[in-house]
């Protein structure tokens, strides 16, 4: 059976060059980079090189601004808890948005329980925050604004440069979660002007379990985890060396191959267009300012998990914001925040394209998805049947 992977926002296959770069670090170059002997020193040199590559990929002024973590989630947590820990004497107010990834949202909510004040900016029907509302939300005791660069579910890109301009006037740190943007749209910390930025390797054809936090020089940040002296004590623990090497390689390739995204966005548009031809299907997310690989539609009268299983049976791997897939009681907080009804959010379908996606894949989807939708609708008590 044909198998089509359209869930690149969830994770990506590793690029062969990345894996090749990693392999020597499992047995030949296995030393602990903290060790003084040759086995360790030669590894430390390569870790430094990977740090340089990651720094370069996001336009950081220095490799010393990169702190490797175990992934995007830990980078987000480190950014938020780290700033709060360092600045809590200055203030107790954080600003975020209603559509952040759980790594940011749940962290902010954990802080709320500890007595911090959190403002969750609403978003419009396209998933964009309102800069005026942001401006008004900043208070004297605001210490951090954390807003994602682009949303993982609906692909909407936020105006981070504008956010930074507003924040700078008030002297408030800005953190952005760029886990979904690196490799998809240009990510340059100096152009964005942010103080902290999170990235993750497995979203850019690198290994799972490694990410990084960019911390602009001079930014006050405390560590979340305590231990040895690794990552200048901001992130102790023996380094995931092979993972870091792979991340460096993947970051380098990602910035070199940004051009491929033009091809991907054309396929995306074709897929969107085709899906919108099905009756009672609506695009979610911004029509223009969206990630090149992101397609997110609501398909009325059917439920997301049943749709995913049916597509899976046809060889198509996709994702949904359905309540039935969430483990909690509610469908995607992102779709709900954008004003969708529970039922419409429940029937959402996310298809995320990547480097390996071909025109034939899209054609196959446009043949199969309408059939599957039809079949499920014929079982549904909702709609016209």
């Amino acid at each position: 059976m044909r198998r089509i992977y359209l869930d690149h926002a969830a994770t990506t296959p590793i690029s062969p060059k990345v894996l090749e770069a990693m392999l020597p670090f499992y047995n030949e170059l296995f030393g602990n980079p903290s060790s003084i002997h040759g086995f360790g020193r030669e590894v430390a040199i390569h870790v430094d090189k990977a740090r340089e590559k990651v720094a370069k990929a996001i336009g950081a002024a220095s490799p010393q601004e990169i702190y490797f973590t175990s992934g995007g989630t830990e980078a987000d947590n480190l950014a938020i808890f780290g700033v709060i820990e360092a600045l809590q004497n200055k203030g107790k107010h954080i600003i975020t948005s209603a559509i952040e990834h759980h790594a940011v949202l749940d962290t902010c909510e954990a802080l709320e329980k500890k007595g911090f004040e959190v403002t969750k900016l609403p978003v419009d029907e396209n998933g964009v925050i309102d800069l005026e509302v942001l401006k008004k939300s900043i208070k004297d005791d605001t210490i951090l604004i954390t807003l994602m660069h682009a949303n993982n579910e609906v692909g909407t890109i936020q105006p981070i440069e504008e956010v930074v301009k507003i924040a700078k006037e008030k002297g408030v740190y800005v953190h952005t979660d760029s886990v979904q943007t690196l490799g998809s749209i240009p990510v340059n910390v100096q152009e964005l002007g942010v103080d902290l930025l999170s990235i993750s390797a497995h979203k850019i054809y690198g290994p799972k379990g490694v990410g990084a936090l960019y911390v602009k020089k001079g930014t006050k940040l405390k560590s979340l985890v305590f231990g040895g002296g690794q990552e200048r004590k901001i992130r102790p623990g023996t380094e995931n060396v092979a993972g870091i090497i792979g991340f460096g390689e993947a970051a380098e390739i990602a910035t070199l191959s940004l051009a491929d995204n033009e091809r991907i966005s054309k396929l995306r548009d074709k897929l969107i267009e085709g899906l919108l031809k099905i009756e009672d299907v609506k695009l979610n997310g911004h029509p223009i300012n969206r990630l090149p690989g992101n397609v997110n539609v609501s398909i009325e009268y059917i439920e997301g998990e049943a749709l995913l299983l049916s597509l899976d049976m046809e060889g198509i791997a996709a994702s949904s914001g359905s309540a039935c897939t969430s483990g909690s009681l509610d469908p995607s907080h992102v779709l709900m925040s954008m004003g969708l009804s529970h039922q419409t959010a429940h029937g959402s379908l996310r298809l995320t394209l990547g480097k390996g996606t071909t025109e034939e894949d899209i054609d196959y989807c446009l043949k199969v998805i309408p059939e599957v939708v039809h079949r499920l609708r014929s079982m549904s008590p909702l709609g016209k049947n």
């Binding site: 049943a306 299983l309 359905s322 039935c324 483990g327 469908p331 079982m379 549904s380 008590p381």
Partner: protein
């Protein structure tokens, strides 16, 4: 995730559709996830002669709907009323812990349909 039996019912659901001249119709919504199930009954001499369902819901919701209709068909109303969500889940070779609530939907919809039949027949 799902057992083979669940997937079989999901892929080839039994008794999908509606009965034009249903003697009883039951619709329930799952407060947990917002899923909806409707069951149609045709009853003859206290026995479920025909039964159909329509479900807006997850894979488990569709599979349990299918299973419950299959289990109820041919049973007397009293026998059918004794079907529990536990029995439906067992029939399907179990459900993942997070999905146990889905089997409530099926048992409840069947019950609602039987009650609707009873009510409209003053039983």
């Amino acid at each position: 995730m799902y057992s083979e039996k669940v997937m079989d019912h999901f892929k080839n659901p039994r008794n999908v559709g509606e009965l034009e001249k249903a003697d009883g119709v039951g619709e329930v919504g799952n407060i947990k996830c917002g899923d909806i199930m409707r069951i149609y009954l045709q009853v003859e001499e206290g026995i479920i002669k025909d039964i159909k369902f329509r479900t807006f819901g997850c894979g488990a919701a569709i599979a349990t709907s299918s299973a419950v209709t299959e289990m109820a068909k041919g049973k007397t109303l009293d026998e059918a009323l004794k079907l529990t969500n536990q029995m439906v889940a067992e029939e399907l070779g179990g459900l993942p812990p997070l999905k146990m609530h889905c089997s409530n939907l099926a048992a409840d919809a069947l019950k609602a349909a039987i009650e609707d039949y009873k009510k409209s027949n003053n039983l």
